[in-house]
């Protein structure tokens, strides 16, 4: 059956009908979209504001999937009102009363079951802050060649924030974990529209759950979490992709067997052994595929924008952001000839190894023409952005350097 909320939120379109929409729209007509996405994105995406948000790139209304336009990435920290929004299922709670929120902690792998309110978390546990990149596993899926089905993200399903909350391990220490616990299962208050749709539930390995950096956050960039980024509580798993960063967190369960839910066993899987990854999810691996885990090293040029025009013999400052799974960005190289030659960019302040790292490069084109500008980051493990896409059916971990074109006159 369909829930009442979904029934009300949905439906309206079925009667709306609509005229033909056959005119092809290109990137030039929607400059907030980068080139290289499926044509349907240019035909469909719009700038729209969710409550509490600035206008972002709307890919789908319901469930809401909105990415941050490149022009909003002006510092290492992504403002809350610009931060991307990603939901799998349209049953999203509204009117959350934080004072009545209860986080259930326990499960079959725990000797004790607890319910914690937001004031409990804020007054009975040490408060911790960490700057960390939150990146959707499918960021840049829309550039996959060939294209693959899914939300056709461009560059903006990523952001960096200072997350404040309590350590997950401190909370788990209150429920007497059994010695044979293998994973910690997390669930949020959002859910499916149909009874037959698997609720979005995830697990993380016990070791990751006990890591000092894994938090239950109640604040983001010094403010309560925005509703669409998980208010009032969100799991923060620095270094790992956002699929584990459960929004509207209300249940934490320790389990003694690998969690077998759809969103672990069937979704968010990458081919085993194809990516440069240090931390694997051992209890969920098979010979052919494994859960996506770490954020692969990546970078994006945030200015100038694709198609920018500048003048010969004048400095065009190239700015951007680089990040990885928390090993730290060691260098960023810039090419202005489509990847033939590379020169080091200047790295700016370090705001944390899990965070965005800003870089800048003064480009002085000698003569008029068209220049293909690219950035490539390298981290402390010497992992870098490969020239070729490591194709996978869900379009994950796409960190191929993206050339942008600058015209010099």
């Amino acid at each position: 059956m369909i829930s009442r909320r979904a029934m009300l939120a949905g439906g309206a379109l079925a009667l709306a009908g609509g005229g033909p929409l056959t005119r092809a729209v290109g990137a030039a007509e929607k400059p907030f979209l980068p080139p290289g996405l499926p044509q349907g994105v240019y035909d469909t995406a719009t700038l729209e504001a969710l409550p509490g948000k600035k206008p972002l790139i709307k890919l789908s209304y319901r469930p809401p999937n909105y990415e941050t336009p490149l022009s909003h990435f002006t510092s290492e920290f992504t403002p809350n009102e610009s931060f991307f929004v990603r939901y799998h299922l349209a049953g999203i709670p509204d009117d959350i009363d934080a004072q009545r929120w209860m986080l259930k902690v326990g499960g079959e792998g725990a000797g004790k079951q607890l319910e914690l309110s937001l004031p409990d978390l804020q007054s009975n546990f040490e408060a911790v802050e960490i700057a960390a990149v939150c990146q959707c596993s499918g960021n840049r899926r829309g550039f996959s060649d060939p294209h693959v089905a899914g939300v056709e993200w461009g560059l903006g399903a990523v952001g960096n924030a200072v997350w404040k909350g309590v350590r997950l391990k401190d909370v788990l220490s209150r429920v007497k974990l059994r010695s044979d616990v293998v994973e910690i299962v997390v669930n949020g208050a959002d859910g499916p529209v149909l009874d037959g749709t698997p609720d979005f539930v995830k697990s993380i390995p016990l070791g990751k759950a006990l890591n000092d950096n894994t938090l239950i956050a109640y604040a983001m960039n010094g403010a309560p979490l925005p509703h669409y980024n998980g208010f009032p509580l969100r799991l923060i798993v620095p270094g790992w992709t956002a699929t584990y960063w459960m929004k509207h967190l209300d249940t934490i369960e320790a389990v003694t067997k690998p969690f077998a839910g759809y969103w672990m066993k069937s979704a968010y899987r990458i081919p085993t052994g194809k990516f440069a990854i240090t931390e694997h999810f051992a209890s969920q691996m098979t010979a052919t595929n494994e859960p996506i885990t770490e954020i692969v090293v990546s970078s994006m040029i945030t200015a100038p924008h694709d198609g920018h025009t500048t003048r010969a013999k004048e400095t065009a400052e190239i700015r951007g952001l680089a990040w990885d799974g928390g090993y730290g960005i060691r260098r960023v190289d810039i090419s202005t000839d489509g990847g033939k030659t590379w020169r080091g960019a200047e790295l700016e302040r370090d705001v944390g190894r899990f965070a965005f790292r800003s870089f800048r490069f003064g480009f002085v084109p000698r003569r008029a023409g068209t220049y293909q500008v690219m950035a490539k980051a390298t981290n402390a493990l010497d992992q870098t952005q490969g020239d070729n896409l490591i194709f996978n059916p869900a379009g994950y971990n796409n960190n191929v350097p993206r050339p942008l074109t600058i015209t010099v006159v």
């Binding site: 439906g11 089905a149 056709e152 037959g196």
Partner: protein, 94 residues
């Protein structure tokens, strides 16, 4: 059943859902079936952004996933209508 829900939603939330109403699918055989089923769980910008690169087999895979993985109550006859519509209007032509 789906039509009743849609009608109720239109009456109650007709104004509020204005932006979503602007998302239209191309006119074609089977559009009403696609709207009535798919719109229950997600807005219709989903198929639109996933175009035009999926061939018939890939659209079949997507519709089957909605039925088997996500529990969409779509009859085999209606699933065929949906696949035919998406292939014809949002497919790669292969």
């Amino acid at each position: 059943m789906w039509r009743i829900f849609a009608a109720a939603a239109f009456l109650v939330f007709g104004a509020g859902a204005q932006a979503e109403e602007d998302v239209a699918l191309k006119a074609g055989a089977g559009r009403d079936v696609v709207e009535n089923y798919c719109n229950a769980c997600h807005s219709l910008d989903y198929p639109r952004i996933n175009a035009p690169f999926l061939d018939r087999q890939s659209w079949e895979t997507e519709v089957k996933k909605m039925i088997t993985a996500y529990g969409a109550p779509i009859t085999p006859a209606d699933a065929k209508i949906i696949v035919d519509y998406l292939t014809a209007n949002y497919g790669s032509g292969r």
